[in-house]
């Protein structure tokens, strides 16, 4: 079953076409990577999926319902995490998580946060001020926030950016475990191809706002005759240069 359906999505910013007639669907319970070089249209696509950018044309539906007309219902089942969006630094971690738990209408929010805090190993961070956290700790807190409403769909925009390899590996392990246990559908963007090979069931490549290729990491590697996804990425990114 497809959880997300994107049909003929186009976004123009004046004369510049950031996303061009993009269509794809995302299967339930899978981790799908949305890849492309800088300026390919990934962030614009994700922001349209979150309804913070209005498409010029095309449609987006979640769970078979149109996003624009069922926004409240859909967003209550979706969550998002990006290192480029911060949590208020002047609140404690617990206060931040409680705020988002309430915004998502979580029943017994404290209990839910404590359960997730154990899972993401941040229980000791709960009383601390968010401003005092390291980048790695902040990433785990952001992920805890992203799981606070038991989302059916999770949009992760460069979730491990700026993390050292050890913390990034730890984060991926937690994500893998979480996805396996909760069958969350994840749309993932990253520039780390090793991470994509490890984590994702499927890869959607876009460049200049247009769909370039779509398949499992293995399928794409054999199609382009490369041993790793990094070379596939370079081939696709440079194909029109």
């Amino acid at each position: 079953m497809n959880v997300i359906e994107v049909k003929n999505l186009t976004k123009d910013f004046g004369d510049f076409r950031a996303v061009n007639d993009l269509s794809f669907s995302i299967e339930e319970g899978k981790i799908t990577a949305l890849l492309g070089p800088n300026g390919a249209g990934k962030t614009t696509t994700i922001q349209m999926l979150l309804d913070i950018i209005t498409p010029t044309s095309g449609s987006i539906s979640f769970f078979g319902k149109d996003l624009h007309t069922n926004k409240e219902e859909i967003l209550s089942k979706v969550n998002f995490s990006s290192p480029y969006v911060a949590l208020p630094s002047n609140l404690t971690v617990m206060e931040n998580l409680l705020t988002f738990a309430r915004l998502y209408g979580v029943k017994k929010p404290k209990q839910k946060i404590e359960e997730l805090a154990d899972f993401f190993e941040i229980r000791n961070l709960l009383p601390r001020m968010t401003t005092s956290l390291s980048t790695g700790q902040l990433t785990r807190v952001n992920l805890t926030k992203a799981f606070v409403n038991d989302p059916k769909v999770l949009l992760l925009d460069e979730a491990t950016a700026s993390l050292d390899p050890y913390i990034a590996d730890k984060t991926l392990t937690v994500l893998e475990r979480m996805q396996k246990e909760r069958k969350v559908t994840i749309l993932y963007t990253s520039h780390n191809m090793a991470e994509i090979e490890r984590l994702c069931d499927r890869v959607i490549f876009i460049n200049k706002g247009t769909l370039r290729d779509d398949g499992t990491p293995q399928e794409l590697m054999s199609k382009f005759g490369h041993k790793d996804l990094n070379d596939v990425f370079i081939s696709i990114a440079t194909e029109e240069e």
Binding site: K11, F13, A18, T44, Q47, L50, D51, I52, I53, T54, K71, E72, E73, L75, S76, V78, N79, F80, S82, Y84, V85, A86, L87, P88, S89, N90, L91, T92, E95, L98, T99, F100, A101, R102, L103, Y104, G105, K145
Partner: protein
């Protein structure tokens, strides 16, 4: 409207007062009291000049307390909006099911809480320092205050819409616009004291009618229904206009894809 989501935003801002920010407390207690004391001393001085039958203390301190309502209402709603912009939390908030109506309902509740606390402090200080009680105005205090609160919100929503569209470079408006409106609102003097070319501007502000009504009530002891209704009518009109303006700006920002840039 979902009360749980409104509570989330209210609590998110109330956490900031858990003994961790002196400037926030100064905003509620210290600065308003300083303003009151300045005008209080000035009105005591004017009172000693024997300016006839006018109760200078009532007129000036009533105006100070009432103006605090407009200012608190505007700045609370603007600053609670700006907090999430400054903290780069804006996107996190607006990808939840929270609606714009719920967001502004929450900031209105926060503004009311702030106004009640500040007003209680000001009235206590005014009573013990100058034997002044705003309740000499009788039940008129409530409808007058309500009008001032609504107009403060109107200004705040207008400013927030500008900040949303043009980013933090426009944030100075959150602290400056109200200072432009004060002399035009005939807070401390009748509207006829203004130059004739400014009077028409003054007469399109609901605040002008409230302050004129307050002075009329103090002078004659009667509730000025006409002024009250004019203020209320203008407020309702402006409220509808600014809600439409904010919603239009929000749509433009979404169409231009600059919501994330608002906080940067």
């Amino acid at each position: 409207m979902n009360s749980g989501r409104i509570k989330a935003i209210v609590m998110r801002h109330l956490y900031l007062y858990k003994g961790r920010s002196l400037p926030r407390f100064m905003d509620i207690f210290f600065w308003p009291v300083m303003t009151l004391l300045t005008w209080g001393f000035f009105s005591v001085y004017l009172g000693k000049l024997n300016l006839g039958n006018i109760n200078i203390i009532s007129v000036l301190l009533g105006a100070v307390v009432f103006w605090e309502i407009v200012q608190m209402s505007q700045q609370a709603v603007s600053v609670y909006f700006l907090e999430d912009v400054w903290e780069k939390n804006f996107l996190n908030i607006f990808v939840t099911p929270l609606t714009l109506g719920e967001f502004f309902a929450a900031t209105a509740i926060l503004a009311i809480i702030k106004i009640i606390i500040t007003a209680a402090v000001l009235l206590t200080v005014a009573y013990f320092s100058y034997h002044y009680s705003i309740f000499t105005l009788g039940f008129a205090v409530i409808p007058y205050a309500l009008n001032l609160f609504i107009f403060g919100m109107v200004i705040a929503i207008f400013i927030n819409a500008i900040i949303l569209r043009f980013g933090t470079s426009a944030q100075v408006l959150a602290f400056g616009v109200i200072l432009i409106l004060q002399p035009l609102s005939a807070v401390f003097y009748p509207v006829t004291a203004l130059p004739s070319f400014i009077q028409p501007i003054s007469r399109i502000l609901p605040t002008t009618y409230v302050f004129e009504a307050m002075r009329a009530t103090l002078a004659g002891g009667v509730f000025d229904t006409t002024s009250f209704l004019l203020a209320l009518g203008l407020n309702i009109f402006y409220f509808i206009v600014v809600c439409f303006f904010f919603s239009t700006m929000f749509k433009i920002v979404k169409r231009k894809g600059i919501l994330l840039k608002v906080q940067n």
